[in-house]
Amino acid sequence: MEHKNNHIVGYGTYIFVWLTLVTLTALTVTVASFDLGGFSIVVALIIASVKALLVMLIFMHLKFDDKIFRIFVAVAFLTLMIFIVLTFSDYSFIR
């Protein structure tokens, strides 16, 4: 864990990621104009998650940082997911 992170991400990578993010935003707005029923929220959340993942991996340097940071982030998101899933064990099955 001692080695310092010396990786400098170039401007090109950032601009490429930004273009992808803008494209995904356009995609999510376009998809929202179709009526997909219950799937529209699923698609919207999947696109949002991909965008968030891109921001975290590249902009927030998770891809280049020490492994411990990726483990930390996984733990945090997993905790949040568990909170949501367990709460819905109530709401989904209520009569």
């Binding site: 930004w18 935003t25 921001v55 940082d65 940071f69 819905f88 709401y91």
Partner: protein
Amino acid sequence: MNQIAETLASEHIHRDEVGAKIGMWLFLFTELILFGGMFLAYAVYRFSYRDYFALASKELDVFIGLINTLILLTSSLTMAMSITALRRGNKKLSLIFLSSTIIFALLFLVNKYFEWSAKFNHGLFPGSNDLLSLPRGEIIYFGLYYVMTGLHAVHVIIGMIILLFMLFYIKSNKVNQDYYIMLENSGLYWHLVDIIWIFLFPLFYLIH
């Protein structure tokens, strides 16, 4: 010899950059869970009031939301590039990128201000008679809308203040090519604000 090195290392505790980054990420988790609690509330209410949520979201202007999304994404880009510029030793370019991030943040807030005041002019503010006469599902939708975007806006303001400090620190060389962890951590905070908005946008603007 080894022990001297250890002692020296421990005297430079405040220069432990990995430690500072760990601390920052842990702090970001609390922000994440803070908003996570509200997202959980959103999920439960949308589950109960699906049709009302779709109806109420028609009141929001997708175009303003889209513009704000693009503004924040671009501000994230300039934020990241500002760090690269500083690490490559280009202080001037770093300052330009950082200033544009702050300007984008300001634009976001101006946009938000017009959006909110339009709602207020329509009588749709918390506790107003017009809002309370709506079905309960819509009252909850607007309750969540005001609280979640409001708290997000507070984070944008805090982020702006932090970035302003960084601007002065870089100018005065307190943050520089060799010691840039403060700028990096501020960047992490700013990207988190962006990530929250990435989820807020489709959940409030795109659900009809």
